[in-house]
């Protein structure tokens, strides 16, 4: 009999041979890795994915559900997409919340793992009775919204469709996978799906996993939903995450002009406080969520777009853009094309600085110019700038060709810097190739540690170390090695949340995270899992990700920050200064506290 909450198996589809098989997952594996990110990492290690090129035919990609998906627990309708990242060549797990998770689990599998490559652009159809790889070349070039609408029309409304946009089809290394306006955004999972010639996955099913204690679960879920309306989530409900902007600006931790500044003169103009006055605003939410943090703002030409802190920062201050229409249009364009907004903004901001300093010949690409940012976003996907032929206009300083600007931008900031050379890597805003989110690590030094050691690269979702910076526990501009356990605690907690899966915005609602999460798992699965055991699950998952990276070629040198952030003080704040020695001391203390050696190696 299956463990309640699970189907006890995953679906493995070889797209080359069009063979599908059902593979059992042992109950002890489920208990050790839960689901979502944790189970996904386990499956990828099991598949030997660490040593395979992420865009190769043999590379696996897993859509992973969780025991809580389909339950009445608020914010639990989420899925994880786990693969080796084509941007970082390290482990990548991106999460999205939507009805795709519920429908995907109803197919009767705890995960859907794809390998191989379809012979032509196709849609993968999965329901609990059949699995079909259907050629769909007519969908080529369609945006995410167009693809999902076309697939909905063709297959019927009961299918939930996750898709890639043109960016995924062209294997842009920071392409997303989308469903219903939500994105598995970071690390380029969309490129991996594109490399498999899969434009969309459509799922439906009738299989329901049982719950161990249905009555208790419904009662718990009801109480949790009631609590989710309290003050801990008021910010997300009423303002959305974009309301961070003015505070971060005030504290000089708002990355601006490619991290050349920590505050932005135009912040007020693009703040949600200002946008609400000038534009129509609506609210939305992921499936099965009582918080509803999504805030959409109207565009001048009609339609609306979801705005959150990260896309606002990346396509606004980071590129010096104070024109709200351009920022919103850029968010919309990234969503349609299927591009990760943080990596898009980071890469374009880096290119703007390269152009400003003469490292690339693109005088039109300037900080503060919204039109040039929009043009650059389109060029990422088009790979082609008709006005600027390859070797002539976009040549690097040493005279060698580096392709047109679109091709350069499509690489992401790290690869782009390596092509340009001339030490531009020192100001490429990335860690392990993943562009840095909107927290200046010089003024938020616990987060600096979180970014540097992150297995996915610079990441605010797998490490919540900024919470510590924004507390009395540390001096955010003078963080000491004695405090690293606090950063570890946020990583372990995130690993558990991403495996249960629950939304991070619920964390303020839970008074005792491990105790209440154990109770949720007990009600769904019947396990008498203790808070201590669950804590260990978090550690195990972080270790598994690290193991994956070691197998993939990780070295201690990549746990660092760009040289700019280790050598230059934030101009507006003389105390916001991080040194290589300070960061190294934090990393060493972190490694030892994790039980690894001082450099960060662990036995694999």
């Amino acid at each position: 009999m299956n463990t309640p909450g699970y189907h006890g198996r995953y679906l493995r589809v070889d797209l080359t041979t069009a063979q599908a098989s059902s593979v059992a997952i042992q109950p002890d594996v489920l208990r050790q890795f839960i689901g979502g990110s944790g189970l996904g990492v386990y499956l990828l290690l099991h598949e030997g994915a660490a040593v395979v090129d992420p865009l190769a035919v043999a590379a696996p990609i897993a859509f992973v559900f969780s025991p809580l998906v389909g339950s009445p627990l608020t914010t639990s309708a989420k899925f994880a997409v786990v693969c080796k990242s084509p941007l970082t060549d390290r482990i990548n797990d991106s999460l999205a919340g939507s009805a795709f998770a519920i429908a995907g689990k109803r197919t009767g599998y705890d995960a859907i793992l794809l390998t191989g490559r379809a012979s032509k652009l196709s849609v993968l159809l999965i329901d609990d009775e059949q699995i079909v790889i259907e050629p769909a070349e007519e969908l080529a070039g369609l945006t995410n919204r167009e693809t999902q609408a076309a697939a909905g029309q063709r297959y019927g409304a009961e299918y939930q469709v996750a898709s890639i946009g043109p960016a995924g089809e062209r294997m842009i290394r920071y392409a997303t996978i989308s469903h219903d306006g939500r994105h598995a955004g970071r690390g380029g999972a969309g490129a991996v799906l594109g490399a498999k010639n899969i434009k969309a996955i459509a799922v439906r099913g009738k299989q329901r996993a049982a719950w161990a204690d249905p009555q208790g679960l419904v009662q718990f879920a009801k109480e949790l939903s009631e609590r989710s309306f309290g003050p801990a989530t008021a910010k997300y409900r009423e303002l959305g995450t974009a309301s961070n902007l003015l505070l971060f600006n005030r504290l000089n931790v708002l990355p601006t002009h490619n991290f050349q500044n920590g505050s932005f003169v135009g912040a007020e103009m693009i703040s949600p406080e200002q946008l609400r006055v000038a534009r129509e605003q609506t609210r939305s939410s992921c499936a099965a969520c009582t918080i509803g943090c999504e805030h959409l703002y109207g565009l001048s030409g009609g339609g609306s777009v979801r705005l959150e802190y990260e896309n606002l920062f990346a396509l606004g201050p980071l590129c010096g853009i104070a024109d709200s229409e351009s920022v919103l249009q850029a968010c919309r364009l990234c969503d349609d094309l299927g591009l990760d907004t943080i990596s898009t903004g980071g890469t374009i901001a880096f290119a703007m600085e390269c152009a400003q300093r003469g490292f690339i010949d693109a005088p039109w690409l300037q900080f503060g110019d919204g039109a040039s940012m929009l043009r650059a976003i389109q060029m990422v996907v088009d790979h082609h700038d008709p006005d600027h032929p390859v070797a002539e206009k976009a040549s690097v300083g040493n005279g060698s060709s580096c392709g047109n600007i679109g091709s350069l931008l499509a690489l992401g900031s790290r690869r782009m810097a390596l092509v340009i050379g001339q030490d531009t890597i020192h100001f490429a805003p990335q860690v392990k190739g993943l562009e840095i989110p909107g927290y200046d690590p010089r003024g938020l030094q616990m987060m600096a540690l979180g970014f540097a050691v992150g297995t996915r690269g610079a990441d605010h979702n797998r490490s919540g170390a900024y919470e510590i910076d924004f507390s009395e526990a540390v001096d955010r501009r003078d963080v000491r090695p004695e405090s690293v356990e606090l950063a570890i605690e946020t990583e372990d907690k995130a690993a558990v949340m991403d495996s249960l899966i629950l939304c991070k915005f619920l964390r303020g609602v839970l008074t005792d995270f491990y105790q209440e999460s154990s109770e949720m798992l007990r009600l769904v699965t019947g396990w008498n899992i203790t808070p201590y055991e669950l804590r260990e699950v978090g550690r195990r998952i972080v270790n598994a990700k690290k193991k994956f990276n070691i197998l993939a070629g990780w070295t201690p040198q990549e746990d660092t920050l760009p040289e700019r952030l280790l050598c230059q003080t934030v101009p507006e704040d003389a105390r916001a200064r991080l040194t290589p020695e300070r960061l190294r001391s934090l990393i060493t203390a972190y490694n030892l506290a994790r039980g690894w050696n001082a450099e960060g190696w662990l036995e694999v």
């Binding site: 910010k235 309301s243 961070n244 005030r250 605010h460 009395e472």
Partner: protein, 87 residues
Amino acid sequence: MLVNVEFYGIPRSRAQVPSASATGVTLGEILQDLAARFPALGETCFHGSLLKPGFVANLRGDRFVSDPNTVLQDGDKLLLLSMDAGG
């Protein structure tokens, strides 16, 4: 003792102004003064002289404080904000 208070996030939406002056020697006294003048702010964010969970204060853009006995200086800047950053 006059302190300049800046509001961010929910505190700003409740106070309906970006900043205000407040009088008091300690953080607790400042919060009570603000609650008297901005009842919606007080109701959502304070519990007497304490900040409710989910809200935090920052002194001069430097350190985060929550102890109601924290002594402020004349002319100090106090930031009131929603605690979770997130994004």
